[in-house]
Amino acid sequence: MADLLSLSEAVQRFVHDGDTVALEGFTHLIPTAASHELIRQNKRDLTLVRMTPDLVYDLLIGAGCAKKLIFSWGGNPGVGSLHRLRDAVEKGWPQPLEIEEHSHADLANAYVAGASGLPFAVLRAYAGSDLPTVNPMLKSVTCPFTGEVLAAVPSVRPDVTVIHAQKADRKGNVLLWGILGVQKEAALAAKRCIVTVEEVVDDLNAPMNACVLPTWAISAVCEVPGGAHPSYAHGYYERDNRFYQAWDPIARDRDSFNAWVDEYVRGTRDYAEFRHKLAHANAGEAN
């Protein structure tokens, strides 16, 4: 059974320095609030897994929480580069970042294999690509029936997965809908799983075949309204496209990044206070 906890307590209890952590959410329902809390609690030496590092990992990398990144597409979608990711890879700032690079199909399959309790996934991939020359974890297997050679990739089995969802009920059962990404697989592949949700309700009213994670399959549920900003939560709020654009100049420069994190993340007690401060700043800017 999942405990209904504050995000602060959940991160304290379930994320440890050195853990392999997956914050998943494919464009939709990105668990940004959790990345802020990891920074506030100064978690170190994390191996970060995520198909699309996005702003959520640009933050963690720039704040010095990560020692390794496992990923498949690292950009600011619709805007350009992730400057903190590039600075870490190209210049080793604030510390060297080991990278292990896959394709989307590979990592999606690797999460499926992780959720399935398998040590590896089999897929048709990488023939003719240079990726296997720089990632020794991309191997092959031969079909014992046809002799075909297929790609074999290690499954993803994080110590902790964090996802954001729309709703939980009071027992801790979780419902998400819309773009589902690899969240369910990431949750089930992990040893421990924290789910932040927009709201806790009496009854999920889920369609019969909806994507529901039962309470006993997760560790903690935390009510964090707006916790997926600047991505979106279908049925709750839209993607804040302007924030993605605003991130570019903030993250481009080390000092402006540090100042932003000090002010908005380390300088706030929790995500509610962060949202308040950000709204205030945006209102001030609009004046």
């Binding site: 464009t27 990923f71 597409w73 690292g74 394709s103 048709r124 003719g128 773009i179 496209n241």
Partner: protein, 260 residues
């Protein structure tokens, strides 16, 4: 015909390559713009699949991300990302994979990973995303990108997604199921693989574009087909649909979408 930009010509030319009813796996940016233009003009029944999960998306404005909410709302169904890659792409159900690229070579191989040495990168690009398996498994592939010396290079620093590999039948020898790239559509011309060598040669020049311009903007010794056509100008329907789409997108998002 009203005046049009080279960028509009590129998008229109790409859109025309999508047959009505084709099942198209769409990359974000230029491919998404061209695919949606096709859907709004010549190919109303083209099926758009985005790697985030929507199958049969019919957005009224261009998505800024690969998983915008409107894609889900207008789709026939939305499946997990793992399923998109497993059942729909790898399962052999995609007619056309529609890709952008940071760099491309004469055999339609794509680099979206790195410029310079992988371990000491000059420029670190976003990486593979869905492209390697789209390039491998779609029945055919269309590539759309702006043409320049920096993007059409003689030798890629890194092959992220394979096209025709080293040319000839290399792709078949690699055991890849799809036919690979069948066209590269740029703001200057259309290139198609030459029979036999599978080296991309210019088969159609956009109106007003000279061979010299193409040569100047290609990092390899680009060749021209025996018959080089002139691309038909964008017609009014196409231009109006494209401009209306971009206007709706700007109004909705505060940015145009699809050019990044």
């Amino acid at each position: 015909m009203s005046a049009y930009s080279t960028s509009e010509m590129m998008t229109v030319a790409a859109a025309r390559r999508l047959k009505n009813g084709a099942v198209c796996f769409v990359g974000i940016g230029l491919p998404s713009k061209a695919a949606n233009l096709a859907r709004l003009t010549s190919s109303p029944d083209v099926v758009l699949i985005y790697e985030s999960g929507p199958i049969g998306a019919k957005p009224s404005v261009l998505p800024l991300s690969i998983g915008d909410g409107e894609l889900a709302e207008t789709a026939d169904t939305v499946v997990p990302t793992g399923e998109i890659f497993r059942y729909w792409l790898q399962g052999g159900r995609i007619d056309v994979g529609f890709l952008g690229a940071a760099q491309v070579d004469r055999f339609g191989n794509i680099n979206t990973t790195v410029i310079g040495d992988y371990h000491q990168p000059k420029v670190r690009l976003p990486g593979a995303g869905g492209a390697p398996e789209i390039a491998g498994s779609a029945k055919e592939v269309l590539i759309i990108l702006k043409q320049s010396h920096r993007t059409f290079v003689d030798k890629l620093a890194f092959i992220t997604s394979v096209g025709h590999g080293e040319g000839g039948d290399h792709r078949q020898r690699l055991g890849l199921p799809g036919a690979g790239p069948v066209a590269i559509i740029t703001d200057l011309c259309i290139m198609e693989p030459e029979a036999g060598s599978n080296e991309f040669v210019v088969t159609s020049l956009h109106p007003g574009v000279t061979r010299e311009q193409v040569i100047e903007n290609t990092g390899w010794a680009i060749r021209f087909a025996d018959q080089v056509a002139v691309t038909a100008e964008p017609n009014t329907t196409e231009l109006e649909a494209l401009r209306a789409l971009e206007a709706r997108t700007a109004a909705a998002h505060g940015q145009k979408g699809g050019d990044e």
